[in-house]
């Protein structure tokens, strides 16, 4: 099927809400991180949201690293 429309793709094929819930922004040692939930207590770092170049050199928050959450802010 070819669909000709001026509407943006998101308007034609809305994404399920659960896709949005997968990713969350958490604060980890004062640095904001975009994380992807993998299990109830673990999440994977997707992106570091910081303006400090130093924060990007932190081993523990390299994208792809797993973080264990003592209290899960992902719920």
């Amino acid at each position: 099927m070819i669909l000709y429309t001026i509407l943006p793709n998101e308007a034609v094929f809305p994404v399920d809400q659960s896709v949005y819930d997968q990713q969350k922004i958490i604060e980890w040692n004062g640095v904001q991180l975009l994380v992807e939930r993998t299990s109830l207590t673990e999440c994977r770092v997707v992106q570091v949201l910081s303006t400090d170049p130093q924060d990007y050199l932190n081993d523990a928050t390299q994208p792809g690293q797993m973080l264990t959450l003592s209290t899960s802010p992902l719920k």
Partner: protein, 248 residues
């Protein structure tokens, strides 16, 4: 005693880090292909990366790479307030996005009292143009491009003539912002914006690195090296001015 312990085992004082440290080495080899990332002291220059789409009122699905203005604006406020931060480097590789969100970011950058330098890497299209020129000094990589085109709207429109006028005003705001913050003339910018034959079946111009400089849109061709040099120069100048103020 405490500090010694921390120095020897960085991260050990944090229970969250504990579990990871065992597998960190393996993970790092898998992810980065190397065993350690370099470290340095706290930087006096902070870096704003504006990548992907500039997200406005509509949240895009997570597979889209977006820059959210509600994230950037508090960061810009933090940069302005933190006395340890002396300058900001803005990296752009954006396809454009929401006009009002983009203008909000541009205005915030333009009104920063601290020196700012922007670099357009890859692309600084549409609303990326005002963000690039908002900095005190702008650079464009030789291969980077900037698409200049009129403001557009997709979706359902209620009240066509009113919406048209509204968009016309919005476009005027973009044009006036760019002409105020760069050396390009309004005539030239509008000429680029409405020229035909440059983009396939569309109006506008795709401006490459050198051309952007020759039109006066961007100050210089270059990337990180020259940009850092310029930023350090601006920081010294700014500091000198501040010290002068104190003497008076």
């Amino acid at each position: 005693m405490n500090s010694e312990y921390r120095n020897e085992n960085p991260g050990q004082d944090d229970p969250k880090k504990d579990d990871q440290s065992k597998s960190t080495l393996v993970d790092k080899i898998q992810q980065l292909g190397q065993t350690n990332v370099p470290s340095m002291d706290h930087s006096n220059i902070h870096c704003l990366t504006i990548i992907g789409q500039i997200e406005g009122h509509v949240q895009l699905p997570p597979q889209n790479k977006t820059t959210k203005y509600e994230h950037l604006i508090p960061q810009i406020v933090a940069i302005e307030q933190n006395p340890k931060i002396e300058g900001v480097l803005i990296l752009l590789n954006t396809v454009g996005g929401d006009v009002e969100a983009g203008l909000a970011i541009s205005e915030m950058i333009a009104s920063l009292s601290k020196p700012s330098v922007s670099i357009v890497l890859g692309g600084g299209h549409s609303i990326g143009v005002p963000i690039a020129v908002a900095a005190n000094y702008s650079f464009v990589a030789e291969t980077a491009t900037m698409t200049i085109h009129p403001v557009r709207l997709t979706g359902l429109v209620i009240g066509v003539p009113q919406t048209f006028e509204y968009l016309d005003k919005m476009q005027e705001r973009v044009v006036s912002f760019v002409t105020r913050h760069s050396n390009i003339t309004e005539e030239k910018f509008k000429e680029l914006m409405f020229s035909r034959g440059n983009l396939t079946r569309d109006i506008g111009t795709n401006v490459v690195g050198d051309d952007a400089v020759s039109y006066g849109l961007i100050d210089e061709v270059g990337a990180v090296g020259p940009a850092m040099k310029k930023l350090n120069e601006l920081i010294d100048e700014y500091k000198g001015k501040q010290e002068g103020d104190i003497v008076q």
